[in-house]
């Protein structure tokens, strides 16, 4: 039996599948191009006698558009609530990758940032300050090189810490325009009555303001079916 479920999110082509293979000893097809993993792969690993199930989500640049692969990733994080979501980013293009990290942090507190391809970044004289990132983002950060299997142990330790609640996170919140923040505050109390702490209130509110119809439909289904179950 697995103790914890760990989801791997990240932009396409950041080496999620390579990390997945390194951790699980499985052989998911890896390749240097976006769009390669579109279905979830599942595998297991153990660390410090804990059992972990690892889910390789499709690579996505954001969680805001409506392609099937982005919806898969988004719904998994929101509805299936993994114990930890590890966001894998490419050290050589951190800025672009951070967009997804910030989006994930709106959805869950239980996150770890994994900076992959650190060897590549060193080669290009890119210096990343892990400690500053950790402070700024409010979640644990681990730099690794998945293909050289370097830094994996530290990553696993941080995942363990978050999974067991030993590391308490305080995720960075994107601050929106004044008008937006005002509207969020106005809607939040109502949203919280509906989602009842099951889903992140602020994020659902943002989705309302974003006008994402397809997400609303998924949410209806969830609220509806889960309500059904509790009545039985």
């Amino acid at each position: 039996m697995s103790d914890f479920r760990i989801a791997l999110a990240g932009n396409p082509n950041t080496g999620k599948s390579t990390l997945f293979n390194a951790l699980t000893g499985m052989n998911q097809h890896t390749g240097n191009w976006p769009g390669k993993t579109v279905i979830q792969a599942k595998g297991n690993y153990t660390f410090n006698e804990g059992n972990y199930t690892l889910i390789d989500l499709p690579g996505t640049y954001s969680l805001y558009s409506n392609s099937a692969d982005e919806e898969t990733a988004r719904d998994y994080i929101i509805f299936d609530r993994p114990d930890v979501t590890v966001v894998v980013v490419d050290a050589t293009s951190l800025e672009r990758n951070l967009n997804l990290v910030l989006q994930v942090l709106e959805m869950t507190d239980q996150a770890v940032l994994c900076i992959n391809l650190i060897d590549e970044a060193k080669k290009r004289n890119i210096r990343i300050y892990d400690d500053r990132l950790e402070k700024k983002l409010g979640i644990p950060v681990a730099s690794i090189s998945a293909r050289n299997k370097a830094g994996i142990n530290l990553l696993l330790k941080k995942i363990e810490g978050v999974a067991k609640g030993e590391i308490v996170t305080s995720p960075y919140q994107v601050k929106y325009s004044e008008q937006m923040e005002e509207d969020i505050q106005r809607l939040e109390p109502y949203v919280s009555q509906i989602v009842k702490g099951k889903y992140p209130t602020r994020w659902v509110t943002l989705k309302l303001l974003d006008g994402d119809r397809s997400f609303m439909d998924h949410l209806y289904q969830r609220v509806f079916s889960e309500g059904d179950v509790s009545h039985v």
Binding site: P12, N27, T30, G31, N32, W33, P34, G35, V38, I39, S62, Y64, N66, S67, A68, D69, T72, T92, L94, E95, L98, N99, L102, Q103, E120, K123, R124, N125, I126, R127, I128, Y129, R132, L133, K136, R147, Y172, V174, K175, Y176, S177, Q179, M180, D183, L187, Y190, Q193, I194, T205, L206, L208, L209, D210, G211, M216, L219, Y220, V223, G227, D228
Partner: protein, 463 residues
């Protein structure tokens, strides 16, 4: 129950209410971008980017409007050339090894006084069929797949997609269709799943319906083998390999042209619409882990395809042998089937055996060639597995010309997708109608084109 309804209704009300606040996705995403920028400015330091531009420089050449296509052709050509040039000798060696063992197998069967039919079934049907499949399919795969995997891991495939992107937009499809098409060169079923990266359902359907027109792992060996046996007969040495490779590339290009034409036709009729915009990321080039890639490609792809071929080909060999040896009115069942298919097949430049092999080969493209060989071998023309010349003489004995080979290649390229792919299309589209279309469109095109080619070639008296 009432509580749920309230919550559902109030969620809907909230959604309406939020909509009236008039915020846009751009606003949200813009603020997220800004936050990302400020964080990365605090936490990342770029020193003198030295070799940062290497990728960009390379991309200037590999995706240039002038050099992009020629380089693409040259790379594909190079891979296929090396495959053909390198596969011949190991193929012959494998073939003579199998034939060597066959002698002992036959002796063994005689020694235990096994009945004639058992020897026929197991040695002449099963063993010979499998031997042929392994000797003609394994060597090219062992060369082709690792080379292809190296290019893939280096990051060349997105550049192919980038180069082709304009063509697909012109044909009314989504630029990402070029990416899913590139994946089809490996496996069409996997490529169908990969069409999920296309947001618009219309453009996704275009990508699904046309994916089959690029040859997958299961069809490469057929194309390469037939081309090397028949298409360069008048040439020798290096030139022969060159001509063979050119024919294979011609077939691939033809497949791409058909992909574009069908996309265009559909986007003007059943799937009308304007292509949506998108951005395609060109990932940095990365030096692949050379040996890792070779081992993976060999184990995962070559052996996988071969295993699939043998797994289905072995029982098919037995079945074909049985069909060939059960008589109804002095003629075997197999011949009944073949005779029935023959007139139609002939009008396509094929013969009844080939058509039967394609029909029985529905589960997997890998087994079409094996089934064909077993069909031929079972009819008394018991050619021993010797070398590629012997293989060619099997075909020649059954009246093959270069037209037969060409049309079999064309039919293989264009016909309905394999069973796995059709099933995947159904799972992805959840529509019986579109699944049927995805099988019907290619089949009709395959029949039409082979028919036209056969009529023209015969009409002009070229064969």
């Amino acid at each position: 129950m009432s509580e749920i309804h309230t919550s559902k209704n109030s969620l809907e009300q909230l959604f309406q209410h939020a909509g009236e606040m008039n915020h846009s996705r751009e606003e949200i995403v813009g603020d997220i971008f800004q936050a990302s920028r400020s964080i990365s400015q605090d936490c990342v330091k770029y020193q003198e980017a030295t070799n940062d531009q290497k990728s960009e420089k390379l991309d200037k050449i590999l995706t240039s409007p002038i050099w992009g296509y020629p380089i693409m052709l040259a790379l594909l050509g190079g891979v296929i050339y090396l495959t053909i040039a390198g596969a011949n000798i190991p193929s012959s060696m494998l073939a003579s090894m199998f034939s060597y063992f066959e002698t002992y197998l036959t002796l063994g069967f005689e020694w235990i006084q096994a009945p004639e039919w058992l020897h026929g079934l197991l040695v002449l049907g099963l063993y010979r069929g499998v031997s042929w499949v392994v000797s003609v399919m394994l060597p090219p795969m062992l060369i082709f797949f690792p080379m292809f995997a190296l290019l893939e891991n280096y990051g060349y495939l997105p550049r192919v997609a980038f180069n082709m992107d304009r063509l697909f937009k012109g044909a009314g499809g989504h630029g990402k269709q070029s990416l899913t098409m590139a994946m089809g060169f490996g496996c069409n079923a996997a490529a169908i799943i990969s069409t999920r990266i296309i947001e618009s359902p219309r453009e996704r359907m275009l990508a699904i319906l046309t994916n089959n027109f690029v040859p997958c792992n299961g069809r490469w060996p057929t194309l390469i083998l037939l081309s090397s046996l028949f298409m360069a007969a008048g040439y020798t040495g290096g030139l022969q390999t060159f001509v063979t490779a050119s024919v294979v590339i011609g077939i691939v290009l033809f497949g791409i042209v058909i992909t574009l034409l069908v996309s265009y036709g559909l986007s003007k009729t059943a799937l009308k619409g304007v292509p949506t915009h998108y951005t395609l990321e060109l990932p940095p080039y990365r030096k692949p882990k050379f040996w890792d890639t070779l081992v993976r490609a060999t184990l995962d792809k070559s052996l996988y395809v071969l295993k699939r071929a043998i797994k289905v080909a072995a029982p098919a060999g037995v079945a074909t042998w049985i069909l060939a040896n059960i008589d109804i009115g002095n003629v075997s069942v197999l011949e009944h089937i073949v005779t029935f298919l023959d007139p139609f097949a002939h009008s396509l430049g094929l013969d009844g055996y080939i058509l039967m092999a394609f029909i029985l080969g529905l589960p997997a493209n890998e087994i079409v060639l094996p089934i064909l060989l077993m069909g031929y071998l079972s009819t008394g023309a018991m050619t021993e597995v010797n070398d590629l010349d012997a293989l060619k003489s099997i075909f020649l004995d059954h009246g093959w010309t270069w037209l037969t080979a060409l049309n079999m290649m064309l039919f293989s390229l264009l016909h309905y997708p394999c069973g796995t792919t059709i099933y995947t299309i159904y799972k992805e589209t959840k529509s019986v109608k579109w699944t049927l279309m995805s099988a019907l469109i290619p089949t009709i095109i395959a029949i039409a084109i082979t028919f036209i080619v056969a009529q023209i070639v015969r009409g002009l008296g070229w064969v």
